[in-house]
């Protein structure tokens, strides 16, 4: 009990810190044209590889410096947040919808439904996920919707596995048996009685998956297989930064810090939310 109380105590601070960063990044993404100090695509060879504002040789207005084509790094990060959040929300929701539905069905009905769904999950788990993602985007053609589809197609198993196991646990509980005796139908029990009890896990997984989607998008951009190369993406900036690492370290450091903060925030936010809503911990 002691540990539960400690984790609940700590969950408040985590929730606010993680939520605060995510809100900040989301607002920057939504109001990107207002927030970004420069045009993210404007190249200026007079201003190539400018260092960040505290170093000598920096230029006012280019707070985090510029890349090898003289494009403003801060503006590119702000606009890159748009792609990151669109992919995070769309891909995670799609994966959640498919995976949770199949997980509920497999866990609640068992039998053949469970056997078939579990076998498909086994096949999916035998693919190296990054290679699978790269392959799917190569096949579907680069673009925002391809990236979203690829992530959803690969990561639905994460939801399916967890929700299946949780549903199986819930299905054995007395309240399910009582509902059956009371004359409720099986699908009605699944949706009205079991589903609400696995929602905290779904919420935590959804938040975690958003962070994973951001990473996968960055990896795809890194191997030049995400959206069109003109639009700034965090992974694209990282790929440039990796190339000019000895001349301009800031081109790699700032997108990397942004990515790490975002991924940590998504996973911590999900955990903290789960701790807050979980009736057992509460």
């Amino acid at each position: 009990m002691d540990e539960a109380r400690i984790s609940r105590h700590g969950s408040g601070a985590r929730l606010w810190l993680a939520g605060g960063w995510l809100l900040l990044a989301l607002l920057a993404a939504i109001f990107a044209p207002l927030v970004a100090p420069q045009d993210p695509l404007a190249q200026d060879l007079m201003f190539e590889r400018l260092p960040p504002f505290w170093m000598s040789g920096s230029e006012p207005g280019f707070w985090l410096g510029t890349d090898s084509l003289g494009r403003d790094l801060l503006s590119r990060l702000v606009f890159g947040a748009r792609i990151a959040f669109i992919v995070a929300f769309a891909a995670a929701l799609a994966a959640c919808l498919v995976g949770s539905t199949l997980g509920l069905i497999a866990g609640y009905f068992g039998g053949w439904a469970d056997r078939i769904i579990s076998r498909i999950v086994d096949v999916w788990m035998a693919f190296p996920p990054v290679l699978f993602a790269i392959l799917l985007v190569a096949v579907l053609g680069t673009g925002l919707s391809s990236v979203i589809i690829a992530i959803a197609v690969i990561d639905w198993t994460r939801f399916c596995r967890v929700i299946r196991a949780e549903t199986m646990g819930q299905a054995r509980m007395d309240y399910v048996e009582n509902a059956r005796i009371a004359g409720y139908g099986r699908i009605g029990i699944m949706l009205r009685e079991v589903l609400p009890n696995v929602v905290p896990s779904i919420v935590a997984l959804l938040s975690l998956e958003m962070g994973i989607a951001v990473i996968v998008e960055a990896i795809l951009s890194f191997v030049n297989l995400s959206i069109s190369t003109d639009d700034p993406t965090w992974g694209g900036i990282i790929a440039e930064g990796r190339l000019s690492i000895h001349q301009a370290w800031w081109v790699l450091v700032f997108p990397l810090v942004t990515l790490i903060l975002t991924v940590l925030s998504f996973s911590q936010f999900g955990e903290a939310l789960k701790a807050r809503f979980d009736p057992v911990l509460r």
Binding site: A126, F127, P128, V130, L131, V139, I212, F222, H246, L252
Partner: protein, 335 residues
């Protein structure tokens, strides 16, 4: 009992691999680009195109192509790479050892780091040391291998350039190896100068792969150790005068390790999956790096071959862990 369990696992393994083969085959065949078009010089005639399509079997229906390919695979013939114009199996076997060495070194590191921090955390339970270990493992777990790789490149490739950040071995070295297992062979030949160079290249990608797994091992093993440490037989050992470290190493660890072991198996397959992008990041010449090139070049036979080899590796690891668990767990052994 054990044999029956083994045979059932073998059967599901075969079904899984067949499923992987079908999925990858179908996915690749719906690709819009024509792989043949990339091989031809400008000005090739329609007859040339038709001849090449026939050569790679691309003129038949998808179902026919699948079974021709599958019957080849069963006989060990994975076809010919379109972009490299070499035997696929030969290419894969040439690169697989590099990836296996990297994965094994990463696994050993994860076990060492995770095991040490778990034992330390269990011994110092309830103190600031344990809290520090919890925070570190939480961060290590949340940050994926791709980002760890970039952080390491910045720290030890640029800020304090102590390690090589690209390749598998320094190109100017003369390599006497007959196998592709460079690291293991350098140890066997007592050529420690080469071992040092190889490890210098391998260390950073291996750490990037190891950190998330180390965190999982640390958390799970610490939890099991703490549970075991309250049991009567451990308390008895403590009463007999053993120190806390002795109690953990001699009494508790053996019983606490089993739940961790099953998890390490699945997590090891995740680690191998991670080699794909980490190898790319460090320009390490392994299977994953070749796979990304194969996808970019639309090299269908090579992609199929690599994906299938990865899948085979994954199911074999799961099988091995399952069998090890059955052998070590007395409840299953006598069940």
């Amino acid at each position: 009992m054990l044999l029956q369990r083994f045979l059932i696992r073998l059967l599901t393994m075969a079904i899984t691999l067949f499923g992987v083969a079908v999925v990858v085959f179908v996915v690749i065949r719906v690709a819009p680009g024509d792989p043949i078009a990339m091989m031809l010089p400008p000005g090739a005639t329609d007859a040339d195109i038709a001849r090449l399509r026939a050569l790679y079997g691309l003129d038949k229906t998808i179902v026919e192509q699948f079974f021709i390919w599958l019957s080849g695979v069963v006989r060990g013939d994975f076809g010919t790479s379109i972009s490299l114009r070499q035997d696929v199996l030969g290419l894969v076997f040439n690169r697989l050892p590099a990836t296996l060495e990297l994965a094994i070194v990463a696994l050993l590191m994860a076990l060492a780091i995770g095991g040490t921090t778990a034992i330390l955390g269990a011994r110092e339970r309830g103190t600031a040391v344990e809290a520090g270990i919890d925070i570190a493992s939480g961060a290590a777990l949340s940050i994926p291998d791709f980002l760890w790789g970039l952080v390491l490149i910045l720290l030890f490739g640029v800020l304090v350039p102590v390690f090589d950040i690209s390749g598998r071995v320094s190109p100017q070295l003369d390599l006497p190896f007959v196998t592709q297992f460079y690291l293991f062979e350098s140890l066997a030949r007592l050529r420690f100068d080469l071992t040092k160079d190889l490890l210098g290249h391998m260390l950073m990608p291996a750490i990037a792969l190891a950190l998330p797994l180390a965190a999982i091992i640390s958390q799970l093993l610490k939890q099991s150790l703490k549970e075991v440490l309250d049991l009567d037989y451990v308390v008895l050992a403590r009463v007999k005068g053993f120190s806390e470290t002795q109690v953990i190493l001699r009494e508790a660890l053996k019983n606490a390790a089993l739940p961790t072991l099953t998890l390490v198996g699945v997590q090891f397959t995740f680690l191998i999956g991670g080699t794909v992008i980490v190898e790319r990041l460090f320009s390490y010449e392994g299977l994953g790096n070749m796979a990304i090139d194969a996808v970019i070049n639309r090299d269908l036979p090579l992609i199929q071959g690599i994906v299938l080899v990865f899948a085979l590796l994954f199911v074999l690891i799961n099988l091995a862990v399952d069998m090890m668990y059955a052998l070590l767990n007395p409840r299953l052994r006598h069940g």
